[in-house]
Every structure is written in C-alpha cells, then in structure tokens.
Amino acid sequence: MRPLYLSPTLATMLLSLSSIFALPLAAQSTSLDQLPSATQEEIGRVCLPVQYREGAGAYRNCVQTEISLRNDNALSGKNGPTDLARLSFDDKYAVQQACARAGGQSSSDYQSCVTTQINELSAVEQPKLDLISEDELYVVQQSCFEAQSKQGAASYRRCLNGEVNSLLAIPAADTSDLNMLKKNALQLRCSSNTSSAVQYRQCVASEFESIAGQAPSFLPVSTATAVTANVPQSNNGQQNSSVVNNTVEEVAEKKQVPTEPVVAAINELPRQEPTMALPRNISPPGTQQSQLDEVASTATDVSVDTESQSNSTDNILLAQNTSADATTDVLASDIEVSENAGSDNAGAEIAGLENNDATNTRIISRPELVETLNKQAQSIAQGIEVEAVDGVAESTSTGGTDLLSKASGLWQKFFNSLSSLDSTGWLIIAGILALPALLLGLFSFTRRLKKPTAIAATSNPDLASRIEPGLQTRKLRHEHQAASLFDDDTPSAQADDDHDAITRIATKSERPVVSDASAMVETQSASENKASENKASESKASENKASENKAAPNNQQHWANLSGWQSAFGGWLERLPEADRTSACIEFLVYWVAYGDDRFEPELKKRLFTATDLSSHDEIKRWVLKQDVFAFSDVIVWMRQNASQHQLDQSISLIWALLVTENNVTPVQNTLIRYLSDAFNIGKENIESRFEKAFGHSLPNMPRPDSLAWWAKQDDVQVQNWNARAIATRPDNEQMIARLGLPTTFNEAQVINAFRRSARRCHPDRFTALGDRERALAEQRFIKFEEARDKLLGVSV
C-alpha cells in the first residue's frame, strides 16, 4: 500500500483548508499508514483507479477525501465504509448493487445509502449457510441472485433465510460415500432440472438410487439443527430469535463457541422426553404436533441408554424441538423420498437416524412417518404453516406468498392423483405418452419413403450443373490422395498417376467405393437423370471451356453413378460395425469443427500421416486433417439417412458442449453450426433460439472474414481468443478464464453463472440418443469446467 506523503506545502494548504471549513485538526492530519490495514486496503481500492486515470495529485486528494470522510463518520457515529468491509462478499455485493445509483463511492448519498442498507441488514437474521452443502449453497445463492442484485442486502438475506429454512426441513441424502464421478453425475442431473434448493435436495434424494445403485441414507437433520443451538437460548428453552449480528467476523466467532457451555445451559432446562431427530416438525409427546404422531399409534419407542456421552446431542435436539419457531415445512417430496428408502430400515433412514452417534432416539416406523408427512405436506399445500408452541397449534395463513409451498402442494396433489389411478387410467396415460413416439415414427417412415424422389428434385440445379465438372475433377484429386494414404482401402490406389484425370471420371471401377446406399438413390427415374444431364450439358456449352468439354461425356457417367460415396471415407465407414457408424460420423464432425480452427498439434498431424497402424479414431482424425471436403459431404449424407432427428439435434448439442466457449464463437464454429442446422433440418430460427438458451447470449451473425467491414466490428480481444493455440500458451489462470468465457475482470457470480451454463450443456441427459462415448466426452468436458470454476474461485482442487 502506498503511504501518503504530505509535503510541507500540501500540509500548509490542508491546515488552511481545515481552518476554513472548521474541520477538526485530527481529521486532517491522519495519514494513511496510521489507519487499520482493512481501511487502507479499502481506500486503496477506491483511489488506485483514480491514480491510474488522473495521476498522483488526484490520488493524493482522493486519499485525503476518503480519510476525512471516515473521520467525519467516526465523529458523527455513522456507519462508514469500514462497516461495509466487514460484511461478507455476498452481502457487500448486495449493498453495493443497491447503492450503485446513489452516486460515487465517496459521495454522501452513497454513504448514506450504505448506512441504511447495513442497518436494515443488521435487523435480519444471519442465514445458516454453514448447515447446507456446497452444491445447495450454489442453488440457494442462485435463487436469491435477483434479490441480491436488485432488492438490497436485507431482501437478499431474507431470501437466503427463506431458502435455507425450507431446505433444512428436508432430510438430505448422504453422498459422502459416492465417488467423484457419481457425485458429479448426481450434481449435474439435479442442477439442470431444479430451480430451487429444496427441489435440488429432493432431486438428489430421488435420483440417488438411479446413480448410486442403492437406496440413499439420510443425514440427520439433528446434526444440522444442533449447530443452531449455539445461538443463546432463553430461559424457557426457546431459541432466541433476536437480531443476530451479521458481520463475517461475528459469524466466525460464533463458530468457535464450544458446544459444552450450550449443552450445559440446555441441561438446566426442564427435562422432556427425548424426541426423534427428524423431521423437526414432529414434536415431542404432549404437544399438539405430537398428536399427529399419535395417529400413527403403532410407533415404536426404542429406549437407549440416556446416560451415555451422546446426551449432549440429544439435549440439543430437545432444545431445538421445543423452540417456538420450529416450523413445519415438510414438503410432499419427503414422502417420495421415503418411498425410495430401503425396506428394512427405511423408517430409520428417512428419520435421519442412521447415525452412529445418535443413541437416544425414537424410531417411527415408515408407514406412519409417510402418513404423518403426507398430512403435513397437505397442510403446507393449503398455505398453512403449523407452529407447535407448548402443545397449542396455531395456524397462520401465509397469504399465498410462499410459492415454494404452493408448488410442493401441487406436486403432492399430482402425486396423490397418480397414486389413485387404476389400471385403465394408467393405460390411458401410457397411450398419451406413446402417441408422440408413434407419430414421430410414422413421420420418419413416410419421410424415408419420400427421400429418393426428393433427391432428384434439385433445389439449386443451376449451381449443380455449373459446378459438376469441377466437382468431379476435385473429387478425383481427393480420391487419389485418399488412395495414396489408404492403399488397401481403394481400388483406385492402383491407378496410374500419369493417366488423364478427367478420363478417370468415366471409369466406374475407379471410384473408391460404391456404396450399398446406392439402392436408395438409384430409384430416381431415368428421365430425371436425363433432365439433369441436359441441363448440365447446356450450362457447360455456354461456358465454352476445354476442360468442361472433356468432362461432359464423363459427367453422364457420373449421373448414372450418383449412388456412390463421394469419398473413400464412405467405404471405410461401411466396413465398420453397423452400430459404430453413426458414432464415427459424429466423431468426424466433432473433429472437423475442432480442426477447422487448427485445434490440433502439428506433431499429431505428422504422426497420423506417417503411421500405418491406426485406431479407428485416429483414422477419422487423419481424414479430417486431410481436409477431405467430400468425406464431410458423405458424413452429412450418412447422418441424414441413418440418424434419427433426435440424434441429429443432439450431435449439434455435443459439438457446442465440447468445443464452443461462451462469448467466443469462432467464425468456423459459427459457420458450421449454421450449416449443420440446415443440413439436419433444424433451421435458422430454431438453432439461434437453442443457442441462446444454451449460452445465455445470441449466436453472432454469419461471419464474413472476407470483408473489412466485418473485421472492423470485431473486438481485438475476442479475435485473440479465437486462436486456440495461443490460448494454450497463456498462464493457467487465463486459460481458465477463457474456458468459461469470462471477461478479463469478473466476479464470483459471473464465474458461477458461466459454470452452471457450461455444466448444463454437458449434462448427460442432453445426449440420451447418442452413445456412451459421446456422453463420456461430455463428462470429461464437464470436469474441465469444474476445474476452471474451482481455480477461479480459489477453491482447493
């Protein structure tokens, strides 16, 4: 930190000024290095940009202004920026957002706004963020992001409290035994399908079995609620609901408070019967809430040694359950979770009792618990929040403001109606669900029947007729190159190099491969062929070129030979097992897009072009590196003729999940995505809308790298980011920034948002029509995004 130096002249001036404005001398004479380091850093943050923009003099004035401001605030007892510095990152962000329009950071309006915000904030209870998992924290923060950025710090904190409290009422599946891959899969599946933390936790519980292969065990809610017992308790055993101070330091202090004194204090409370650990809304016997439990009259009490060391846990549970504000936010999905629990100890699992330390507990059997939860969920659905206070249940209308409760109520109704369906009802639902598939199958069938005739109806016959001779010439060149690389693949490898290339067009046997797919296109009528030939001949005659005259007769042969593959790649593809061909074509397209931007090591190219024994993946790479445009064409044909529309759609999704970075679509990627969308019958509007949904920004217009006007509109930094090889040489941190498509300066929220969008693009559910290999590639990509997120957020990996 740069120390403030006061020259004699400046000191004199300041003294004069202080006398003019009657400011206390102490306020003026304070130097920067006398201030606490936090204040120094804060002033530095404010004034260093001023120094860079306007020079040393302006910096000095800025520092003095900031010091004076703080001294003024100290004298008047107002909250100053120092208080702001004590807030957590998220709270501070909310305050700054709320006050951004109030003026500059040094202005009195801004300071006044900050003071108001901090005062409002201090009246709101600190959210129990440390009781939820990291993933849930992300979802909670995302849910409240709008409140954070638009409604001020207090609203943000209230939002957090609402989300966290709702969340804590639901048992959390224990994922600690899952390996990293399964955790990621679970996280991916649930993060993309949920919009709130409650839904996320429910999703984790419900999806656990499908991913882990076993029913989930649940973390006891008591573990979480026990921590809240650190908050001072009042004499009647109720949790003190007074305002909790909200600074980061105080939270840290609270965490350090040992539990023993609290336990001792709670032990002095009137002793009540121990209660079950979960859910919190099931109260001890004697309360009205517990009467709900009594409905399940077969509940079994298990008495365990109450003098064991686990007493403290039990006591804390007791305190929690007798608290006045123990709300009953059990959601309908709890029931669903209980259905997923194992049959042997499901009751214990759903109650969160599968905890080695929990010894003094009461176990409620599963059917009773389900029934109880059902009742409570229905109450919630009706907008009623039940409070259990000293055995008297009070119902308070939430006024329909709790959207979450409404949503869970709707879900419960839906779930109940499903449960009540008889076999006829299920048959009707199955029929309705199967109808789109039947229609799709019918559409696909009729489309395939029509395809051969559609081929004959050329949409751009003029272009076709004019380019046909050149096409054949180039095709021969590519075939020849392919033959030289894959001698055993193509009969044309034996062709004489000195032979006139044009005359080779006429020789059917010299084509690299004649595909079985010929059956599909050979159905076109002879008259259509003739019409095309005539048109091509007329076009050639008008151009009057020798080479075209040569090609004209050969062209007829070509039109008779339309069914064949355009490149040797087609023949190679046909030799693959049928199940692997679509996957090979998708792989070709992925490499085509990647290598189109020169995203390959020159060494790789050298190796592939000299090696003789290559895997099928390497062979695909070699074809792509050869830049065989006819192989590209064959791949498009293969995909259109053999892949379902679902596979075509998901192929494009895979390409952009693997290769396209946010805010950094290269011209090659943009062009190919647009072309593939047309080739795969998706269309411009659809692809642009899908892209915007996936990336959070629109697909840039069609690139025109041949136009100076287009280049003039491009941002220099963006152009540099198109160069993948250059990015690979940058420092690690910059690579991570580029990977998530972030600007050079960014905040935590931007990192999280970019990661979430990137992760969603890689979600395995987006590639259900593709193979395991494609899904594995997407998962690897997801891990890369995770790495970038963790490094940029400073989380240890």
Binding site: A454, R474, A501, V629, F632, R640, V668, T671, D706, S707
Partner: protein, 99 residues
C-alpha cells in the same frame, strides 16, 4: 463469401512468399475491384481466419452439390454464399500440378 484464393490463383495452403508474389502481380484494375482482398490477405491474423473459413465454404459447397443433399434447408442462403466456391473454381491446384 469471396474466394480470394481463386482470384490470386493460389491454393489454400500457399506460402506467404507465394501469396506476396501473387498480390504483387495483381493489376490495378483487380486491386480496385477487390478492395478488401489485399488488406485481408496481408494481415496474418485475418488471413488465418479467412483460410479456415475458406475450407468450410468449400466443404459446404461440396455437400450442397451432393445430389443426395439437394433437399437440404437453405435458411442461410447457402446457394448464394458458396457461389464462388464451386469446386470448378478450385481446380487451380489440380491444373497447376499438371494433371
């Protein structure tokens, strides 16, 4: 998109030296006609991206010319965009090699 390699009678893989000599050989009329050509092809970064896009246009032209793909959607006006990338226009490489 314009096919500058065709105008310069060069392959896409032409070296900088070949490119310079072709640019120098352009007549005044050609330079006046192709006002963007010189700037694009002389700027390394722009030329690299143009070269990459050139391959894609060539591939799209080949696909569009495939009789089996004649019913492809044309919502991006590919017919017009690839008009200069007719494979016929790209036989220079083939002809120059004397075959």
């Amino acid at each position: 998109m314009r096919n500058y390699y065709h105008v310069l009678e060069l392959e896409r893989s032409a070296s900088s030296k070949e490119l310079s000599s072709s640019l120098n050989a352009l007549s005044t009329e050609q330079i006046a006609e192709e006002d963007d050509l010189q700037a694009i092809m002389e700027t390394t970064e722009w030329r690299n991206h143009y070269r990459q896009a050139h391959l894609q246009y060539e591939a799209i032209a080949a696909a569009m010319n495939d009789p089996r793909l004649q019913d492809t959607l044309d919502s991006h006006q590919w017919v017009k965009r690839v008009i200069e990338f007719e494979p016929e226009q790209n036989t220079i490489e083939f002809n120059k090699s004397g075959r």
